[in-house]
């Protein structure tokens, strides 16, 4: 699996927000590697820093936020140090992004054609006609019927699922190496969600595009991702292949998340909950951020646990499955 050269490497990424209330460490030392054509599920609750991680990769963090440390290497080139011009060349071209709410990501006053053609023209010197043809093909690829009519239409004439397909088509226009998908199916109903998941997976496999799928839903990524990274309060607390993380979760937080997903094997039993709430990023507990909610926590947890080595790593002094 790791024989391939990684297309995207995130190393010790730190993105902090300098607000009036203090410094919010939204992303605080996130590392992961993405190989060509690989699907990584980035899982976490609201406020765990998963979306900020995605934005940081493309350099789309607005003040008061700032990347304060670490590296984002695209084919070896550090994007944190890259200038705005270089980033703009890569955005939408080599690294594309899909956002959560399809109702909001397309500009309501511009036609789909305008929004697709401008994306083509932003990176390739082709004629308008050629750009339009490519936009048409992209719509066909994501399964939108009568693409010619649809190109002339405006976003409000599409359903939510269709809009997300358009957004995916836009992301695919330049056959990028990486797509960062920030909860793209959360706002859709379940059947549409399943269709989109299936198609995105298929398209990525066909084109060899690597995918970072950001979600709060472990059930979604377990069927989709090759590898999973679980985030909590700005840090990756557990990472490994999907099988390792889902079937052999070591971090108590991952364990808690898995316990809160309904499953056929535990029919009738109440779902378990993780006690407490996600801590405020302005006021993180010392050491392991999960400590106040963790039943296994001891004195030693006042220090930040290191990510254990190996393909399957976790940040915990008292991992599940080990003698407490």
């Amino acid at each position: 699996m790791t024989r391939q050269e990684p297309v995207l490497e995130v190393e010790d990424l730190r993105t902090h927000f300098f607000t009036r209330g203090g410094v919010a460490k939204a992303v605080d030392g996130v590392s992961f590697t993405l190989n060509r054509g690989e699907i990584l599920g980035l899982v976490g609750e609201s406020g765990s820093g998963k979306s900020v991680t995605g934005m940081s990769i493309l350099g789309l963090i607005d003040p008061p936020g700032r990347i304060v440390g670490g590296a984002v290497r695209y084919r070896g080139e550090d994007l944190v140090k890259a200038g705005e011009k270089r980033l703009r060349q890569l955005r939408g071209n080599r690294i594309a992004m899909i956002f959560q709410d399809p109702m909001m990501t397309l500009n309501p006053v511009l036609s789909v054609e305008t929004q697709m053609v401008e994306t083509v023209l932003a990176h390739d010197k082709v004629s308008r006609q050629q750009a339009r043809e490519r936009a048409r093909e992209a719509l066909v690829r994501v399964g939108i019927p009568s693409p010619d009519e649809r190109l002339a239409a405006y976003p409000h004439q599409f359903s939510g699922g269709m809009r997300q397909r358009v957004a995916i088509a836009i992301a695919l226009l330049h056959q990028p190496d990486v797509i960062i998908a920030d909860e793209p199916t959360t706002a859709l109903d379940v059947t549409i969600q399943a269709q989109i998941l299936f198609e995105v997976q298929k398209l990525c496999r066909e084109t060899g595009t690597a995918l970072v799928w950001i979600t709060h839903d472990l059930a979604v990524v377990s069927g989709l991702a090759d590898r999973i990274a679980v985030m909590y309060a700005g840090r990756v607390v557990e990472t490994g292949t999907t099988v390792e993380v889902i079937d052999g979760a070591r971090h108590p937080y991952t364990h808690g998340l898995l316990g809160s997903v309904p499953s056929r094997n535990r029919r009738g039993e109440p779902l378990s909950q993780i006690p407490g709430m996600t801590p405020s990023l302005l006021n993180l507990p010392e050491g392991c951020a999960f400590r106040p909610r963790c039943q296994r926590a001891t004195e030693i947890c006042l220090a930040v646990p290191p990510l254990s080595d190996g393909g399957h790593g976790w940040r915990c002094f008292h991992p599940e499955g080990a003698a407490a």
């Binding site: 703009r88 060349q89 939408g92 956002f99 990501t105 309501p108 006053v109 511009l110 405006y154």
Partner: protein
């Protein structure tokens, strides 16, 4: 679309009918034109003759009915003072006011929108704060005072621009316009700037508020994630979204600039409709005042129609008439 236009025309006809009643009744409430028009030395017989000639001896409803009947055939009465058709007097002055108002609106848009967008994109920057402070001045300073300052600065001290009048005009289809000659443009510039000042401030505020809202939207973020240039994001994605409130207010303001540019026209001795209105009110020249107000009503109706049509161009979600929802 056709349904929309027909419905709109019917509404407009009602508005004009109601307005004509109001205007006619209102004008009766102020003063007696006879006192102003007839010399104090005239005897009773001359007075009675003059009153009968002007039709002022008849009861009000009779006067209105004959006025309304004539109005339908385009005759809004004859000026008491000038003895020529009132509508002709108003329309003669109309081009001067129209071109002045148009130039003022162009200045407001060309200056106001870029500054407003800038202030909206960088609300905390020094430039953003200066623009907003400046717009407060534009709102608060009285027009006549600014007009006099402009004359003092550019006409008297610097001597760059003329202080009054229309300058050279060129006839287009028999209508004189100033904007086609350099001299005319010079004459127009100061009064137009004076008129525009308030509108610039208004446009700045609207554009800034819109930009601040739109810049945070996901579709702007998505546009950035697509790798678009900042010029395209601001010039297309943001601009088109903030234009609806701007167009609405500009439409209303355009009407009011044409109808009520009285102060500026007085300060700069611009021979437009505003000045005619003031003179006519002072002389109680009823037909001219009535004609003026009706032209103004018509103007507002036309502007509102144009604004509605512009909406549907700017925002595809707006379908005129709502028939195909």
């Amino acid at each position: 679309m056709l349904v929309f236009l027909i419905r709109r025309l019917a509404q407009s006809a009602i508005v004009i009918a109601v307005m004509s009643v109001l205007v006619f009744a209102g004008i009766f409430a102020i003063g007696n034109p006879i006192d102003v028009l007839i010399s104090p030395e005239a005897d009773e017989i001359e007075r009675a003759a003059a009153i009968a000639r002007l039709g002022l001896d008849r009861p009000m409803h009779e006067q209105f009915l004959s006025f309304a009947g004539n109005a339908l055939s385009g005759d809004l009465g004859t000026s008491f003072v000038h003895g020529v058709p009132a509508i002709g007097l108003v329309l003669e002055r109309f081009p001067a006011t129209l071109e002045l108002a148009l130039l003022a609106m162009i200045i407001a848009v060309v200056i106001g929108i870029p500054l407003g967008i800038w202030a909206g994109l960088k609300p905390d920057s020094a430039a953003g704060r200066i623009i907003m402070a400046g717009s407060i001045l534009g709102f608060s300073l009285p027009t006549f005072w600014v007009g006099m300052l402009l004359i003092m600065a550019f006409a008297v001290s610097l001597g760059w621009l003329p202080a009054s009048g229309r300058g050279a005009t060129v006839d287009v289809f028999g209508v004189p316009f100033s904007f086609l000659t350099l001299n005319g443009l010079k004459h127009m510039f100061l009064p137009a700037l004076n008129l525009a000042l308030f509108k610039v401030s208004l446009v700045i505020r609207l554009a800034r508020a819109g930009t601040r809202e739109v810049a945070l939207q996901d579709y702007v973020r998505f546009a950035r994630a697509k790798g678009l240039s900042p010029a395209r994001i601001v010039g297309v994605h943001i601009l088109k979204n903030i234009m609806i409130p701007v167009v609405t207010v500009l439409g209303l303001e355009f009407g009011s600039v044409i109808a009520f540019s009285v102060v500026t026209e007085s300060v700069f001795a611009w021979p437009g409709m505003g000045k005619l209105l003031i003179d006519s009110i002072l002389l109680l020249d009823r037909p001219v005042v009535v004609a003026y107000l009706l032209v103004t009503v018509l103007l507002f109706i036309v502007i509102n129609l144009v604004v509605d049509l512009l909406y549907s161009l700017l925002d595809p979600r707006i379908r005129l008439g709502g028939a195909k929802a």
